[in-house]
Structures are given as structure tokens and as C-alpha cells.
């Protein structure tokens, strides 16, 4: 497995202004990221852990080009997320972890056909079959998504994110509100993706158990800064090591 970095963040800063309803009133500033430095090696599953409001989602959305940083840089395979956003979007796959982000009246196959057009995938039928098979939805490919469980929706979101064969997969709390069986299934799919496709995955979670069991490396975000990094496999008690960082 090569160790070349696929994602490099340097001194990343982002704050938001929360305005009041009345015009002219001063807004309140919230510092979401306060100088984040992070390097993620290719082919790994990298967890970002932290409490609610620690900046996990903001970090992922900056990498996904959905939020612009105030200062600092992020590059994906050498492409800057601000200056070269269009190239970055072709290299990443994003799943927001919300079942809401799918077209519920359509089937998985129809959702994926639409996504294929967004990414310009030529002759997408085989790519669709392949990702449906990978996430275990091949038997339900033509049922409306509205009848799916949360776990199935998450797996479909993952299939959509993988359809254009991204180099970097961004998952924002992908197992939130899933039961233990669905979570274990999801982790199994992530490992299969890593093994079979060599995709780098960055996933945010506030579940330390999940981070310790599923990730090769874990970075802890605390109040908008990286508070430490742990490789669970090299720790005798990874859960405890992570708990000390959050």
C-alpha cells in the first residue's frame, strides 16, 4: 500500500457569523476550524472524531468544495479545493449520511442513472450494477427508495458516492442512527471498498468504538483544532487513547 498523501490540509481556518433576525444588530462569530493541519495517506480509512460542533462536518464540506475556507489550503491529489474545485469534485465522492439526500420516488438504479449523468460516466449500466452489488442492494435495485430502511439508504448513498470511481470518499457520520447490525454491515462494505478498489476514505464520527474498530488512523478535532492522531491497530487500548483526545 502506497503512503503518498491524497489529502493535505494546511492551517485551515473557517468561522461563521450567526446573525440576529433584526438588521443592523452585530452577529455572533463561531470559529469552526482554527488552523487545522492534516495529511491523509492514500488507501487508508481515516476517521475524524470529535464532539458535536467540533468542526468535523465543516472540514468535510470544505474538502467537498461546498464551503469556502477563510484561510489556509486543502489539496486533493494536488488539486486545490478553491482554485481547482471542478477537478476536485471529479476526484471525490461525498455521502452526507442523510437518507434525505436521495430521490425517494425513484429506485436505486434510477438514482444512480441520474448521478452517472452528473459525472459524465459513459455507458453507466455496468458501473451501476457493480456498485449496487458492492453495497448489497442488487436485489432491491428497482424498488422505490421510499420503502427502504435507514441502513439501505446509507448504503445507496455510498453507492452513489462510489459510482464515478472517486479517489477520495468523504462520509459525514455515515452510521448515525443505524442499529449495530446495519453499522457492522456498513463497516464491512467500507473494508471491501478499501480492499477491492484502494479508495481512501475519510469519515467523521462521534462514536469512538466505531473509529477504533473501523479506521486505520483517527484524528481528533477539538474546538476546531486537531488535538492528536491515533493508529488504533498500534494501540493496546485504542478506545481509551481516543477518549483522551476528544
Amino acid at each position: 500500500m502506497t503512503t503518498a498523501p491524497v489529502l493535505v490540509a494546511a492551517n485551515l481556518v473557517k468561522s461563521f457569523t450567526v446573525r440576529g433576525w433584526l438588521p443592523g444588530r452585530p452577529g455572533r462569530q463561531v470559529d469552526a476550524l482554527r488552523g487545522v493541519d492534516l495529511t491523509i495517506r492514500r488507501g487508508s480509512i481515516h476517521g475524524i472524531i470529535g464532539a458535536n460542533g467540533s468542526g468535523k462536518s465543516t472540514f468535510l464540506r470544505i474538502v467537498a468544495t461546498l464551503v469556502l475556507p477563510d484561510s489556509g489550503t486543502v489539496t486533493v491529489a494536488g488539486h486545490d479545493v478553491v482554485a481547482d474545485a471542478s477537478a476536485v469534485r471529479r476526484l471525490i465522492g461525498l455521502s452526507t449520511g442523510e437518507e434525505r439526500s436521495l430521490y425517494w420516488r425513484l429506485s436505486p438504479r434510477q438514482n444512480l442513472e441520474f448521478a452517472a449523468a452528473l459525472y459524465g460516466i459513459p455507458a453507466p449500466a455496468s458501473a451501476i450494477e457493480s456498485v449496487l452489488d458492492l453495497v448489497g442492494l442488487a436485489d432491491n435495485a428497482d424498488r422505490p427508495v421510499s420503502g427502504f430502511s435507514q441502513g439501505m439508504c446509507r448504503r445507496l448513498g455510498l453507492a452513489r458516492a462510489l459510482l464515478h470511481e472517486p479517489h477520495l470518499l468523504l462520509l459525514d457520520e455515515p452510521t448515525r442512527s443505524l442499529d449495530p447490525t446495519a453499522t457492522a454491515d456498513f463497516h464491512g462494505v467500507l473494508r471491501a471498498i478499501q480492499r477491492e478498489r484502494g479508495v481512501t476514505t475519510v469519515m467523521s464520527t462521534h462514536d469512538l468504538e466505531e473509529a477504533a474498530s473501523c479506521c486505520d488512523e483517527v484524528s481528533a478535532l477539538r474546538e476546531g483544532q486537531i488535538n492528536g492522531q491515533v493508529s488504533p491497530a498500534s494501540e493496546a487500548r485504542p478506545h481509551r487513547a481516543l477518549a483522551q483526545l476528544v
Partner: protein, 287 residues
Amino acid sequence: MVAIASASSPSELQPRYVVSRRRLLAAFVRRDFRIERSYRLAFLVQFGGSFSTLVSAGFLSHLVPGDQASLTRYGSDYFTFVLVGMAILGYFSVALGGFSASLQQEQEQGTLETLLASPTDPRLLLLFGAMWPFLFATLQLVVLFAAGGVLFHAKIASSHLLLAAGILILTVTAFSAMGLAASSLTIITKRTGPVISLLAATFSLLGGVLYPISVLPRALQIAAEALPMSYGLDAIRRSLVAHPNLHAIGIDALVLAIFSVVLVPLALQCFRWAVDRARRNGTLSHY
């Protein structure tokens, strides 16, 4: 044309595909048709609205004699005048509100972020997202004109239908600029329904839907002349009579072309600016 990026690129981590606009447009129309069709009752009831428009035009025409001076240039038939006005108004409503409605739907169902995280230009996402409503409005227009001719003997000359269609496309393009600008507001303020309703009511009042703008007081006529809708409706009506005044239609078409060339790029630029602002503020996914 779909192309695979150069394999001789210095890095092996290079983008693979190029988005095809033709395939993308087809994908949007197919997606929206499938979603609309899945709501069977609503899909069918939408045609009921067209029938109501037709009957309203029929009743209104009983009240207004056709031999009025202001109707002469349009063929002296009030039913045809009001039918064309109301049918085209439905089309304009899509041009004004269709883009925002599509965008707001993506925001509310949580799909906007995944769309914007794709390599497709956000302006194409906006334009193609409203294509199905335009196609459906076209279908309604054809049904309305055909039913108006068969049931109420509307005097629609078929000799210059292509000219009328061309003027309609030009008018809708010019009018869409306002709809595109409204979408920028949707990105920033999240809800623009009341603004669009107010605009639609104003255009309905001043645009010459139920009466020619020549019957308005002079001050309102001046306001009406600033709207692309007035020129569009005038030209479409003129082109649906047996012997159209091509010179007058040409002048209307020129004005509409100027509106289109100036306003549409401006509105698309506004949308791009609005998306960038929402990315800066972190509010893209808010609704």
C-alpha cells in the same frame, strides 16, 4: 461528447470523465418525469387546470364584444385574445417560478449538496432543473390551443405557427432572466415564494393578459413597455392572425432579443455569485 481525460497526465490521480450537456439534460428530464409520474393523481389533475383556463376564457369572451378598436390588430376576437393571454401566462409562470421551485425542492429534500458536489456547472443544474416544467407547460399550451379551437372556435391561424413558436421561445428566454435572478434570491434568502407571487401578479396586471395594454392609463403603459412579457404577448398574438404584420412582429422580436442578450447572462452571473456567497457563509444546505 463524453471524453476520458488524458492518460498521459503527470499524476495518476486525475479526473476521468467530462460531463455531456445533452446527456445531462436528458437525465434531468427523465428524472423529473419519473418523479411526477409517480404522483399519479397530481399528474392527471394538472391538466384539469388547463380546462379551467379554457372555460374561464370562454365565459369572459361572452362579456366583451370583439369589434373593439383595441382588438383589431389581434383579429377582433376577444376569446382568442384572452385564451392566448392566459395560456402564455401559464408558460411565463414557469419561466418566473420554475427555476426557484426546482432549486427549493432540491434544498428541502436534501439533494442540493450532492448536486453541487458534482463537477457539473451549477448554472446548468439550475437551467436543466426547470426543463421538465417547461416541457409540461408546452404540452398544456398545445392541448389548450387545440381544445380552444375545437370547443370554442378560437381563431388561431396556423400559417405562421413556427413564427409564433419562435417568438414564444424568445419571450420565455427573456422572461426567464427574472426567474433565474429569483433563484439567486432562493439560494440566499431560502424562500422567495411571496416575491414571485407578487411579480406574477404585477406581470399579469401589466403584461396584457386579459386586455391590451393600450387600454391602460399612460403611466401604466410606460411600466408595461418595460416588461418583456408585453412585447412577447403582442408579437405572439400578432403572429396568430391570418395576415400578420411582420414589421411590427420584427420590432417586438428585436426588443425581446435585446432583453435576452442583456438579462440572461446577467442573471446567470448573479446565480453564480449567490452560490459562492452561500459557500462562504456555509449556508448551501440550509432551507
